[in-house]
Amino acid sequence: MRKTYGDPVADDLRYVVKAVVGEENFVEMYPNKSNNYCCGGGGGFLQSGFPEERRAYGKLKADQILTTKAPYCITPCHNCHAQVHDLSEINDHKWETVHLWTLIGLSMGILGPNEREYLGEDLKEVDVFHPESAM
C-alpha cells in the first residue's frame, strides 16, 4: 500500500474488511497504513535461505499482531501470508492467517468445505456451502 497506492487505498480495504467481519470485530494494529512495518516475507526473504534472520525481522510484526489479541490476521499477498503464518507457528499458533478472499467468501455464504484451509476451528464448520462436496 505504502509503496504503490498510499493510505486512501488502505482505507478502501478497511471498508471491505469491516463490511465482511463487522465493524465490532475489526481490530486495528499500530502503527498502521503507511507507517506500518513490513512483515519480512517480501523482497525474496522467504527464498533467500536465512530463516533465522527472517524470523528476527518478523518479531516486530509478530508482537504487533499479538498486541491486538485478534484471532485472525488478514494478509494481502502470498509472501505476507507465508511469513505471517510462519510467525504464528513459532508463537504457539496464537492467530490464524487468512487471505481476504476466504473471509469475503465466508461472509457471502459461498465458501465450500474445501476452501477453508486457513480458517481456525471456530469458523471451519460455520455456514459451510455444499458440505456434501467435502473432499
Binding site: 507507517n35 525474496g44 536465512f50 484451509e117
Partner: protein
C-alpha cells in the same frame, strides 16, 4: 551495534555510490542524509548483524564498498520502502540495497532466489515453480469443472483463459495452481458474483517475479515485458497483479 569501531581507510574511492547516483533521477541525493535515524528507528531489519539503514547508507557514502559487499544484510532488508517514506530528505535507501544486491556475482546470490528466477525464465508463463502453459490450463479447467458440478449455484461460473478483450487480466501466484488449487476458487466466485469480465492468460499468468528480488535487471524486465505482452496480446484493459 558493531563490536569494533569502524576504521576509515583514507582516500578510498567509492565505485558503488557513484554507480548508484548515476541511475537515480537528478543524480540522487544520497549525500543529503541528516543522520537523523528516522529510517533505522522504524526498520524491522535494524540490528540484524549490527546493521541498520542509516549505517548502510553512511558506509556507502564513506566508500566502504568492500564491507557492503561482504554484508548479507542486503538480503535481510525487504526493500519495503518505510525508510524512504519517513526520510526528510527522501533518500532512496531501498534502491541502494537493490544495487548492493546487483553487485554480488550471480552465482553467489541466495540460491533459492536465483533458482526461482531461473525457473521463471524457462517458459512464457513466468512461473517461479516452473508450471507450464498446459499444466496451468489443465488445473484451472479441472478445478472449475469440479466446482460447477458440486456447487450448482456456480454452474455458470467461468475461469476464462485467453479471453480476448476481457477487462481484467488476472495474475495468479504459482502456489495455488501447483500446491493448493482449491484456494483459487473463492476469488473466482467473488469475480463471478460481481459480474467481472476477466481472464487468465496461458502466457504470463504467474504473479511472482523473483528476478526482481535478486536484482537481475535484465531478467526482471524480461519477465515484466513477457507478462505485459500477454496482457496486450489479449487486448485487456487492466492488469491485476495480486502480489
Amino acid at each position: 551495534m558493531a563490536d569494533e569501531a569502524i576504521k576509515l581507510g583514507g582516500k578510498k574511492k567509492s565505485v558503488f555510490l557513484d554507480k548508484v547516483k548515476e541511475i537515480l533521477p537528478d543524480g540522487g541525493n544520497l549525500n543529503l542524509c541528516l543522520t537523523c535515524g528516522a529510517c533505522s528507528s522504524g526498520c524491522p531489519a535494524s540490528g540484524l548483524a549490527g546493521m541498520d539503514p542509516r549505517k548502510f547508507l553512511r558506509m556507502a557514502a564513506l566508500g566502504m564498498d568492500e564491507e557492503i559487499l561482504k554484508s548479507d544484510w542486503k538480503w535481510w532488508c525487504s526493500m519495503c520502502m518505510r525508510c524512504i517514506y519517513v526520510c526528510p530528505m527522501k533518500i532512496n535507501i531501498p534502491q541502494l540495497v537493490f544495487n548492493a544486491r546487483a553487485m554480488i556475482p550471480r552465482e553467489e546470490r541466495p540460491k533459492g532466489i536465483v533458482g526461482s528466477c531461473d525457473m521463471a525464465l524457462r517458459n512464457d508463463t513466468c512461473s517461479a515453480m516452473g508450471a507450464s502453459e498446459e499444466d496451468f490450463q489443465f488445473v484451472v479447467e479441472d478445478v472449475l469443472e469440479e466446482y460447477q458440478e458440486s456447487q450448482p449455484e456456480f454452474a455458470e461460473m467461468q475461469a476464462p483463459i485467453n479471453k480476448k478483450g476481457a477487462e481484467f487480466f488476472l495474475n495468479q501466484n504459482s502456489r495455488e495452481p501447483v500446491t493448493e488449487p482449491d484456494e483459487m476458487v473463492p476469488l473466482w466466485k467473488i469475480l463471478h458474483e460481481v459480474g467481472a469480465d476477466w481472464t487468465y492468460g496461458t502466457k504470463g499468468w504467474a504473479a511472482e517475479n523473483y528476478c526482481m528480488f535478486m536484482a537481475d535487471n535484465e531478467n526482471w524486465e524480461k519477465i515484466v515485458r513477457t507478462k505485459a505482452k500477454a496482457v496486450d496480446d489479449l487486448g485487456c484493459k487492466v492488469w491485476l497483479n495480486t502480489e
